[in-house]
Symmetry: C2
Subunit: 336 residues, 2 copies
């Protein structure tokens, strides 16, 4: 590989001058700059960013730690992150944790070793696996899920609001009262807030949430499936399900279908997060659609501000409202 020394020798100058010429720093005469540029071109010089990173203590890399890139919500988020980051000359390393705190902790440690300039984290834990981060002072922005008692910026969706509106819709428009919720784990802020919104809507309608209607598990398709089977096989006759997120909804519908329960005729269903592309094709799921792409770009912008060392004293918390999209799964008529 041709290095800066090769270019220097060929151009008859020192490596320092080459560095300055190429970076556009002042202190190099125009004539020299042109000559260096020409030689660099001629030798097809391509600077080694590893060496540069070592010296500058900046890698122009950020990490995005999420549970599963395969989930359309995270895919869109990731796309937003990549777009905004690369717009600013940063690259993104993606890490899938599969909702496993141990994997999360391992990735965090690995990313620190790799000297990423900052991390975007949708934590799958209560934040304990992030403890080694607080001891270092690397910039972090939490996305989608906040972690209690952390001092990091975050950009999240308004889960309480979305859950409240969705549940209220089931109650007021469709007259449902026996509504179950299949939620992710309560260590996650999204789960807690969604349960809260659900509970509030129920209580406001004079319905006491029953314990056997509340399923707490994980944000996985299989949990949605298992919970729904149990609900439909042994539970009281439920009229509607509030699915904690899109993959839980898929599991729920699969279970219902297997048991011959029709959605929405026999069982209404609402959920969080949409299936972008496909939803234009099959406008079926009534959902609280979060602005995933925007969450990604905003989070990157906030992270870059921290990386640049801009003096922002207070912790910032951006809360984005989900868009409530009414389609058929709740019992409303399809509008297309």
């Amino acid at each position: 590989m041709t290095t800066i020394y090769d270019v220097a020798k060929r151009a008859g100058v020192s490596p320092a001058t080459v560095s300055r010429a190429l970076s556009g720093a002042r202190g190099v005469s125009e004539a020299t700059r042109q000559r260096v540029l020409a030689v660099a071109q001629e030798l097809q010089y391509s600077p080694n960013y590893i060496a540069r990173s070592l010296k500058k203590r900046q890698t122009n890399t950020i990490a995005l730690i999420i549970s599963d890139i395969t989930n359309p919500f995270f895919t869109t988020l990731a796309r937003g992150v990549e777009d905004k980051a690369s717009e600013h000359g940063f690259n993104t390393i993606f890490c899938n944790t599969d909702e496993d705190p141990r994997v999360e902790a391992a990735y965090v440690e690995l990313m620190l070793r790799r000297q990423v300039d900052g991390l975007l984290i949708s934590s799958c834990s209560d934040g304990r696996s992030l403890s080694l981060l607080s001891r270092r002072d690397v910039p972090v922005v939490l996305v989608d899920r906040k972690v209690k008692s952390s001092s990091w910026d975050c950009v999240v969706g308004d889960s309480e609001y979305g859950a409240y509106v969705l549940t209220k819709h089931l109650i007021e428009v469709h007259g449902k009262r026996k509504i179950a919720i299949i939620s992710g784990p309560l260590v996650l802020s999204t789960s807690r807030e969604r349960v809260e919104g659900y509970t509030r809507a129920l209580k406001e309608a004079g319905v006491t949430p029953r314990e056997e209607w509340i399923f707490i598990g994980t944000y996985k398709e299989d949990f949605g499936y298992q919970a729904t089977r149990r609900l439909l096989e042994y539970g009281p006759s439920v009229e509607a399900i509030f699915a904690g997120n899109n993959v839980i909804a898929v599991g729920a519908i699969r279970a219902a279908r297997e048991l011959g329960v029709r959605v929405p005729e026999d069982l209404a269903l609402v959920t969080f997060d949409d299936f972008d592309l496909v939803s234009t094709l099959f406008p079926f799921l009534t959902a609280a659609k979060q602005p995933a792409y925007t969450m990604g770009t905003l989070a990157v912008e906030m992270l870059l501000e921290r990386i640049r060392g801009e003096k922002i004293r207070e912790r910032r918390e951006v809360v984005l409202r989900p868009e409530i999209i009414i389609r058929r799964s709740c019992g409303c008529h399809a509008d297309s």
Copy 2:
């Protein structure tokens, strides 16, 4: 940050010894090793991989260059890549080109500067934007799309086969003869092969493919939409559409729906690539489903072999057969 020098000083040894102790190299007494380990633990030492990379000339990083992580096909591929890579201690940098060869070329150059150990590329060009790669000898494996006259390994789907079977199905099972194809650009191997498979099936059935049934454009939703509108508004009465890929299919269906043309009743449709998660929910699209995840893992394995410098003289080409999934969009009854 604590460095190897801090650990060395504290443990009363040289940095060289610390390095050896931590890496498990021989030449360090057990007593010393234990002491170093203890000190490293105590100081919360976390090695700087940038420094290591500079010296070892190996970054343990690969790049995945694709057109759009938002497309479920690529998402699944990417997941396979990330899983397999991280299993071997490699991290993955994702690059979205949006089918723009200039962006692709820029990313390739950037990744070389970052000294990635290898690249996985689903090129959106005829390969000319990859020319600077052939001059360097960095390992490359092409995924999904092959580039003519390159000497790189590749793992791709059997597009000709998939297109042939799909088209044949329309002809033989559903008696269609007026079948249009909405294809990606012919610089891409996938497009060429799909057009070939389509043509072969038609010819075998004694149908001469008509030029106004063949739309060559891009793998984008909007192109699928525009082409279908044109086809339905001005063209001869077409009976079926073969969509070049999943997003084209979405556009096509959207256009058909807008014009009041029912799929599959008025217009049959088959396509390449599936919508994983969602297809269990809405088993609608008849498609040639490629093993995207496997493509990803296989590609990484082949790339790692090259990175390890294993002496494989010949170029390897892995061709994976798509699975033909018959559902409703072609006119068959849903089986679920």
